[in-house]
């Protein structure tokens, strides 16, 4: 055995417990990567370590965690699945038939419905319930309350105004025959952003958000629509300034009752699949 090999023996216990200084750990990794000799001490000690956790009593996490995880996972796909997704780069206007659902890792509508029935999350139930019964009148009243509250706060007037204008555009679309509306609520603990969205019968989509983190560099907020068993389809992107207000307008052929709208903060424009966690999410329902 050479000196380095002996060093590794000496460091084995600390290594498997993750208790070495970074330079020591790097040295062990380098050695293991290049040394052809067996290292039984690493395996013997390393085999013990996972059992340390078995001594703990299990602790049930809050029930809401399950929905958070599944929600976030639903918006992502394992790397292998990427090639299977078909995306229309330029969504067409009108209510064209939805494309054949590609084989992607999103639960079937039945699975989602069954899960929703079996384990309603506080957030999910709230959002869906509200979206389902949301009327123009309710939207308007909520909007006024928001205006009053935001206007009270010094320095938020500009943000409130921008948001108001966005909401006004949402309301215009929502008032059309055949329109759908959604209340977008946080899906990730990192954000408190909320907003409203409406889709028109002609495929217009308007989303007005507040309390979004300002985008920096090439960052953009990407809007996604998810229909049935299909994967997230990008709607387009927008940037957000210091006000935290974001208004998005676009078109899609995919939005209809039950379609899900979601936002992610992507490192740059042009994402064809979400690479970041879903920040806010909402389900479209008939607005009248």
């Amino acid at each position: 055995m050479n000196q380095t090999h002996d060093d590794v023996l000496d460091l084995a216990a600390g290594f498997v417990l993750g208790a070495l200084a970074p330079d020591e750990e790097a040295a062990v990794r380098d050695h293991l990567a290049t040394c052809a000799e067996p290292h039984p001490e690493i395996e013997e000690f390393g085999g013990v370590v996972p059992y340390l956790a078995d001594a703990l009593d299990p602790v049930e996490p809050p029930a809401s965690l399950r929905d958070r995880i599944l929600h976030a996972a639903a918006m992502e796909r394992p790397a292998e699945g990427s090639a299977q997704v078909e995306l229309s780069a330029a969504p067409t206007r009108g209510r064209a038939p939805a494309p054949t659902p590609p084989a992607i890792p999103f639960p079937t509508a039945e699975e989602r419905a069954a899960r929703a029935a079996a384990r309603p999350s506080r957030l999910g139930t709230w959002a869906m319930g509200i979206a389902a019964v949301l009327s123009i009148a309710v939207l308007g009243a909520w909007n006024l309350q928001l205006q009053a509250r935001l206007s009270d706060v010094e320095g938020t007037l500009a943000a409130a105004t921008a948001y108001q204008q966005g909401v006004a555009r949402v309301l215009e679309v929502a008032a059309e025959d055949g329109a759908q509306t959604a209340l977008l609520v946080p899906a990730d603990p990192s954000t408190s952003a909320v907003g409203l969205a409406a889709t028109g019968a002609d495929g217009t989509v308007v989303i007005s958000m507040r309390e979004l983190a300002p985008t920096t560099g090439t960052q953009v907020y990407e809007a996604w629509v998810i229909v049935g068993d299909a994967g997230p389809v990008p709607l387009g992107h927008f940037t957000v300034g210091a006000s935290g207000t974001g208004v998005f307008s676009g078109t899609t052929a995919l939005a209809g009752p039950g379609a899900i709208l979601a936002l992610t903060l992507e490192p740059g424009p042009g994402a064809t699949i979400p690479t970041q966690p879903v920040l806010t999410i909402g389900t479209l329902a008939a607005s009248t």
């Binding site: 993750g18 013990v48 599944l70």
Partner: protein
């Protein structure tokens, strides 16, 4: 249990692992239902580890979420024969919880997030024939064979995220003694778990 394989073989299946592997294959294919299954199977163990390490239930939830989403994204990184899926998943939980705790302690040098997961994540299940039937009682009994100072050194590292140097400082013990306690403690635990006689490493280590 079907694992009647020659001693020394690391590829011994237990029924639990077969079920885990099926879940992993389905995760790789992108079936969300598989993630639910995995979550239902291990959520309480995962949360227990995260909570013990972070002592903060909000942070522990984030850690568990990160870990399950990591498995969802990277099910293909699981290497068969290098430990059960449970070991893999819980090692990721452990690693992320330690990261979270160290991030709260600015004095500690943070590991590069791109560095491979901690060593126990890639450690083989050296005794697969016992792996499937160990329960908490047996593991606690094994831990009880350690001396108090050995157990303290191991727990400060594994659940506290402290380095050997930090443990030496905190317990006012020479660094060499801390290293020795960790090594002897792991050996004792291994003997208790496997019921094994001679220590394969008793020679040559100190030379």
């Amino acid at each position: 249990m079907t694992d009647q394989t020659a001693p020394g073989s690391l590829r011994v299946a237990s029924p639990v692992d077969d079920a885990d592997r099926r879940i992993l294959a389905e995760l790789g294919a992108g079936r969300l239902g598989a993630l639910e299954d995995l979550y239902d199977r291990y959520r309480a163990m995962a949360f227990a580890i995260a909570l013990r390490i972070t002592a903060d239930s909000t942070l522990a939830e984030d850690v568990v979420q990160d870990a399950f989403l990591g498995v969802w994204r990277h099910a293909d990184r699981y290497v068969e024969g290098r430990g059960s899926v449970k070991t893999w998943l819980l090692s990721i939980v452990h690693h992320r919880a330690i990261d979270a705790v160290r991030r709260r302690r600015p004095a500690v040098e943070l590991p590069d997030p791109e560095v491979p997961p901690p060593p126990q994540l890639v450690a083989s299940d050296v005794w697969p024939e016992v792996a499937g039937r160990l329960d908490a009682v047996e593991v606690r009994a094994a831990l009880a064979t350690l001396s108090d100072v050995q157990r303290e050194a191991i727990e400060l590292a594994y659940f506290g995220g402290l380095s050997q140097t930090e443990i030496a400082e905190r317990t006012a013990t020479p660094l060499g003694t801390v290293k020795s306690r960790m090594r002897l403690g792991l050996l004792a635990m291994r003997r208790a778990l496997v019921g094994e006689g001679p220590d394969p490493m008793s020679e040559g280590v100190e030379s």
